[in-house]
Symmetry: C2
Subunit: 420 residues, 2 copies
């Protein structure tokens, strides 16, 4: 039986042209983040199934690729449920493994620790255009810093990286805080233990609009009074730091005013320090799905493209699930694949860093004559030129066209007669 | 229940100090290979289980991490064997996925195609010091080139990369050809359909020596005459290109002499062209385990370290398993983890590429004063310095020591009083 040629469902083979863009963008991201003092780390792609199914990952926990036990541990006869069969799974994000990593290695790491992680994650989502089951995330996280310096530095680092990748595109960072979300729901009179349900509906805002949210809340059985009060509030809040402070005053009584002041201060300081141009807005409808967020949350969108290109927030309780002691933590993740898609769709070309030459030699050249050609190639390579050497194909024209697609612009041809 | 802090068995968390070396070495490898005209590609980490268990991977097929089917496809009640439960697995090397990739994408790629792949692979091996269940491989492969230019260029590229990584270490490339292995066995009179068994024993040479090989062959029931003739031959062959030609003359009658001449020519040309110093030896006992090799095979060892740091060979039949038409192919894989271990054990330090400064500010500094500190950091970052900003911990001395371990040599301290 012939083997299967296509990649597994929902995952993709990456061709050289795309890889060039990916490598280029990754280098910019890593360089920028290192300038901000982040250190590279790595965690295994495989994670304990107990950690992956600990209710920290929201809906992503339904999408885990699970790994079968091996050897004696696998007992098909006595297995009754899926849980009896598996002991690991592919990570669905980089944040949960990072929290485990920090719990395991905190003694060897500075405090606060600024981590930079680049790696693949897996989600068995329904395959659709531009969404894959294996994709790369680029995360920065600051662990052990309870102050809003973490948020400020991460927003600065991320926006600097984005601007270096796409200098021509305008983008906007939207921020909110889980405490403010909670405060608005409490203020509107929703039952206290049902606010998560309210936020799930609110999270659909970008798809169904404010009227849609209103409808769904009513359909869910919440009182018209609460729904009215809530949507009124959402509609009238200004998206500036001043707007956040105003909202803080409105919510006095149900929320600690320091929460609003903290977010407003983050916005003020980022704007004051940033040496590049981007939008920074308070968005009271921003929810973000992950179960582990506890405070500030952010999302970045790019002008002309739906959805977000980056997102993150504070998750002060996650590391405590491993260690028993809470450790403040705040992270920002770049939607790497989204950015690559945007660049590919807009015909982006990586700036050439070095010359590319192809040496083509006639069939039959070998021994000392071939060695001479290769020596010439070695010398050019040593001087920084990228040199591909190949025997001429019968269809030389097609061969050259293919090489041109790979970026080879200069061709040097060698024939038997001329080498004598 | 608390979550699990340790990584899954046999896999590891990589700390910043090791990551720095890994990133440095990977950059050298990629840069060098690109100079030789190799283009980056990527395949998914998950591969069809049918492809992974197609008898191409030798013993590695016993070590696959298998992935459970999902949704409706998973039927625990009716499942009788492991095969009913899984549809994918983690790749155990990069060569099999590359062959699938080439079969799937050949029409969009130049011919010959020079691929550069860096990625993790997984093997559920018994955990032991320095051997992990997830590890990185760095491969180059030339697909569609039947000439020995492929071998020559790959040996040149690989040795150049190794020399750039470890300029002080001597290393030796050992070469052989599956046809010569076969020729020697045939010449010695082993039964024709049992030569694979002979090679499995021969492959233990580095562990049990020539006498051990002799003993095992006899114990396996081969005639004393064959074993004597075989070990005599192995003992007397010279390790030079001239030795290969001599062996070719001895094997005339059981092997096409062009096979020996081809290998000798590869050795001559590499030596003639190489602009760096390394050993290049014919090793008639070199086997390499993978089922898919069909011709030349190579392995690289480093002075003072057991085992190999790179290996590869020609596999002209593997792509045909996907397409039905054989495509010549030859590849070289760097044992990346082995090299990292050697560098770490020998106290290797990455040459500093840019300054690293830590700004430490007294607790209580915020608002405009913090913004001023951050602006200063922004300006230094823009000029290429890596700047970490952090609030001073109570134990400032310990904080600085930790930062020094991360490579921060310069500290700038900010106090409330002095900022007024």
């Amino acid at each position: 039986m012939a083997l299967k040629k296509k990649p597994v469902t929902g995952m993709k083979d990456i061709l050289p042209a795309e890889m060039e863009i990916r490598d280029y963008v990754l280098n910019i991201i890593k360089d920028t983040y290192r300038q901000y003092g982040f250190s590279s780390i790595e965690t295994p792609c495989v994670e304990h199934i107990e950690n992956l199914t600990s209710k920290q990952g929201g809906d992503n926990e339904k999408l885990i690729f699970k790994i079968l036990k091996r050897g004696e541990k696998l007992n098909l006869e006595t297995a009754e449920t899926e849980a009896d069969l598996v002991d690991g799974g592919l990570r669905y994000d980089l944040t949960l493994p990072l929290s485990r990593y920090y719990s395991n290695n905190a003694a060897s790491l500075p405090s606060p620790f600024k981590a930079l992680q680049v790696g693949s994650v897996w989600r068995a989502d329904r395959p659709q255009k531009g969404r894959f089951r294996q994709f790369v995330q680029c995360d920065i996280d600051i662990l052990g810093d309870a102050t809003s310096l973490a948020e400020i530095e991460e927003i600065l680092a991320l926006t600097t990286a984005l601007k270096r990748i796409c200098p021509d595109k305008a983008y906007t960072v939207r921020v909110n805080d889980r405490a403010i979300l909670k405060g608005m729901a409490d203020y509107s009179g929703f039952p206290e233990n049902e606010t998560d349900q309210v936020f799930i509906i609110l999270d659909k805002m970008d798809k169904i609009g404010l009227d849609g949210v209103k409808e769904e809340l009513l359909a869910e059985g919440y009182t018209a009074e609460s729904v009215e009060k809530y949507t009124d509030l959402l509609g009238k809040v200004k998206n500036t730091a001043e707007g956040v402070r105003e909202l803080g005053r409105i919510l006095e009584g149900v929320m600690d005013p320091a929460k609003a002041e903290n977010l407003a201060m983050i916005m003020d300081t980022v704007k004051e320090v940033a040496d590049i141009d981007f939008g920074l807005e308070f968005d009271p409808t921003l929810v973000r799905g992950m179960g582990y967020y506890t405070g500030t949350i952010f999302e970045v969108s790019m002008e002309g493209f739906g959805g977000s290109v980056a997102g993150g927030g504070r998750y002060d309780k996650l590391i405590g699930k491993f260690t028993g002691t809470d450790t403040p933590a705040c992270g920002f993740s770049i939607g790497f694949e989204r950015i690559i898609t945007i660049l590919m769709d807009s015909g982006f070309k990586v700036p050439a860093s070095s010359g590319k030459k192809a040496y083509l030699y006639e069939k039959g050249i070998s021994g000392a004559a071939l060695a001479d050609i290769l020596k010439k190639a070695q010398a050019e390579r040593a001087s920084g030129v990228r040199v591909a050497v190949a025997q001429m194909n019968k269809n030389k024209k097609f061969q050259k066209e293919q090489l041109q697609k790979e970026g080879y612009q200069e061709f040097v041809e060698f024939y038997r007669d001329s080498l004598k």
